[in-house]
Structures are given as structure tokens and as C-alpha cells.
């Protein structure tokens, strides 16, 4: 009887260890980057697109709520259009994830904008802009 529990416990521990090992090493992609989207974009298909909001690309029309900006990842850029108010953390030089569809007219129609922030918590005095590489690393989820 005791042997049953020892063996059973060992089997469970083994399965859990495997699961955790696989979970940590698995490099799943949670969203596509602009380069990946450019490489194989299907018009009308839903994507999650993650990248950096390029400096100088943000245009917002408060009256019509038209939001235009460009997401980039260092190799490719994707123009994004959205209707609505952006979240507070959203801004140029920051990371963002947008949900929406690729339009046949050559832009990304976003239905939802989510600001993605890095896991750095900085006191005001050390407020240096997070490096581009660091942010991309965070965006890809490799920072775990």
C-alpha cells in the first residue's frame, strides 16, 4: 500500500517536473512582430501585433478619435490605424501590442490597443529611457 503512494508520488513529481521544464524552455510566440507580419500577412486574418511605437509617427485627432502610428521592430515597420483614445502608458518610443486585422490596403486596422510596459520599475531620479533592445526583449517575452 505504501509502495503505491511512493510510486504514485514519484510519477506525479516527474510529470510536474517535465511540465515545468517544458514550460520554461518553450519559446512560444505570443504575438507577431512587424517583420513577421510583413513576411506572411493574410488580409482579413486576425493578428496580435507587438512592437515599438516609432518616434515621430504618432498622430491623434481628438475630435474624430483617429489614431495613426507606426509600429517597428528594427527591421520592418507597419502602419497602424485605430479609432479611440489610447491608454495612458501608450506613447512614442514605448512598446505596444495591438489586436486587429491586416487590411488589404497596406495598413493594420487595430480594434484594441494595449500598452506593454517593461518590467523595470524605476525611481524618478533614474529615469533613463529604456533601451530599444531591452524593450524588444521584454516584448518578446524572453525576459522571464
Amino acid at each position: 500500500m505504501r509502495a503505491k503512494f511512493v510510486v504514485g508520488g514519484a510519477v506525479i513529481a516527474l510529470a510536474l517536473t517535465y511540465m515545468i521544464y517544458a514550460g520554461v524552455t518553450q519559446s512560444a510566440v505570443y504575438f507577431v512582430t512587424p517583420a513577421e507580419l510583413r513576411a506572411s500577412a493574410v488580409a482579413g486574418k486576425a493578428y496580435r501585433l507587438g512592437g515599438m511605437v516609432l518616434l515621430g509617427s504618432l498622430r491623434w485627432e481628438p475630435r474624430t478619435l483617429d489614431l495613426h502610428f507606426t509600429l517597428g521592430d528594427g527591421t520592418a515597420i507597419v502602419p497602424v490605424r485605430h479609432k479611440g483614445t489610447p491608454p495612458d502608458l501608450f506613447g512614442e518610443g514605448r512598446g505596444a501590442v495591438v489586436e486587429g486585422t491586416w487590411s488589404a490596403d497596406g495598413y493594420f486596422r487595430a480594434s484594441l490597443i494595449l500598452a506593454k510596459h517593461s518590467e523595470e520599475y524605476k525611481a524618478p531620479h533614474g529615469a533613463s529611457q529604456a533601451g530599444y533592445k531591452e524593450l524588444l526583449r521584454t516584448l518578446k517575452g524572453e525576459g522571464r
Binding site: M19, A22, H117, E119, G141, G143
Partner: protein, 218 residues
């Protein structure tokens, strides 16, 4: 009320006060997020304590099935209840923080989804306990469910993680030095300690009440 329980209660109250002082008085305003980041001092300790509580449920359930000690069953029951309360706080504060930061109250992001599934599983656990009248049978069934639930949590976590994620990686649990200003870490630790004390107080009280209930109705 036992004196130990009373002391634990006062300690928890003291800790919570210290936690508030740390969160609002000592910790500086965060650079990118602004003051809304102060929600973190509630949000993170709540989930860590909830994990602790559900871990206690697992251990107590195994002990109960092994030796059928009624005390282990009461501990599992109390701990699950308190854990659900703390999970609820974590989810609610997360949503409130998410609105100004991400721009949405809720998103089917990995961490949010897996924590909410955990919440539902343990709500089911409490429901099962509530629906079985026979005390001994409720204890046995709940112990089995407590074990299944705890083993299921890593599976839920990774499956949902692969499914989709948006939540930043956990800052404190990361190997190496946390990328956080030491003041933030200190404030977080004080709040974590306060929540642990509160967990201890609630659980001790609930265990005693469960025992008294059994004595009265025995």
C-alpha cells in the same frame, strides 16, 4: 478568543499600517506609470499569499487523507477560504490597475486568465464543501479536490501562458537581481509580511471557529 490569535491580529493590523506608510509615504512615485503603480503593493502580495494558502490546502489535504486528522481538514477548509479572498483582491486590484495602464479592465491575457481559473477552481472547492452535509464525507472529497486543484495549477499556468500573454514577467520571482529600485522592493516586502500575518490571523480564527462549530453541533 485565544491570546495568540489576538496577538496575531494586532500584529497584522500593525503590519498593514506599516505597509500603507511604506506604499504611500516612503516609496517614490514610479517614473513611467505614475502613482497608479502604488496598487502593486496590494496586488502582488495578495497573489503570493493566495499561492501560499493554496499550498497549505494541498499539504493539509494530503495529511488528512493519510491519517484522517480532523485538524488537517479544518486547516484546509480555512486556508482555502482565505486564499479565495486574497485571490479576489488580486484580480480586482489588477483590473483597476489595468484600466489606466493597459487601457482595458480585462483582457484574456495569460496571467489574468490563469489566476481567474484558479479562483474558479477554489470557489468550486468551497461549493463542494458547502453542498455535502456529512462532515466526514465532505472532508474526504474536499481533500481529493484540494490535491487535484493544486496539481492542476502549474498545468493551467503553462497552458494559458502558451496560449497568450501580455502581463510583464514577474519581477520578484526572476532569477538574478530584481530590476527594481530597492525602495520599491522594501515597500513590497513590508506589505507581503503584513499580508502573511493577516493570512495567519484569518486562518487561525477560522480554524478555531470551525472547531467550535463542530463541538456545538456534535
Amino acid at each position: 478568543m485565544t491570546s495568540r490569535e489576538r496577538a496575531l491580529g494586532w500584529l497584522a493590523g500593525l503590519g498593514l499600517t506599516a505597509g500603507l506608510v511604506m506604499a504611500f509615504g516612503v516609496a517614490p512615485r514610479e517614473a513611467t506609470q505614475g502613482n497608479v503603480q502604488r496598487i502593486m503593493y496590494l496586488h502582488v502580495p495578495a497573489i503570493l499569499v493566495a499561492y501560499l494558502a493554496f499550498g497549505v490546502v494541498l499539504v493539509a489535504s494530503v495529511i488528512y487523507l493519510w491519517g484522517r486528522a480532523a485538524g488537517a481538514d479544518r486547516l484546509a477548509h480555512a486556508s482555502a477560504e482565505v486564499g479565495v479572498v486574497f485571490t479576489g483582491i488580486n484580480i480586482a486590484t489588477g483590473a483597476i490597475w489595468g484600466k489606466p495602464t493597459w487601457g482595458t479592465w480585462w483582457t484574456w491575457d495569460a496571467r489574468l486568465t490563469s489566476v481567474s481559473i484558479m479562483f474558479v477552481i477554489y470557489l468550486g472547492y468551497l461549493l463542494l464543501r458547502a453542498m455535502i452535509e456529512d462532515r466526514e464525507r465532505a472532508a474526504r472529497f474536499a481533500a481529493v479536490l484540494g490535491i487535484v486543484a493544486a496539481l492542476d495549477i502549474p498545468l493551467v499556468h503553462f497552458s494559458v501562458y502558451w496560449w497568450r500573454t501580455l502581463h510583464q514577467p514577474p519581477t520578484l520571482l526572476r532569477p538574478g537581481s530584481p530590476p527594481m529600485d530597492p525602495t520599491f522592493v522594501l515597500a513590497l516586502m513590508v506589505n507581503l509580511a503584513a499580508f502573511m500575518l493577516l493570512y495567519g490571523y484569518f486562518t487561525a480564527k477560522r480554524v478555531r471557529l470551525l472547531r467550535q462549530e463542530e463541538e456545538v453541533f456534535a
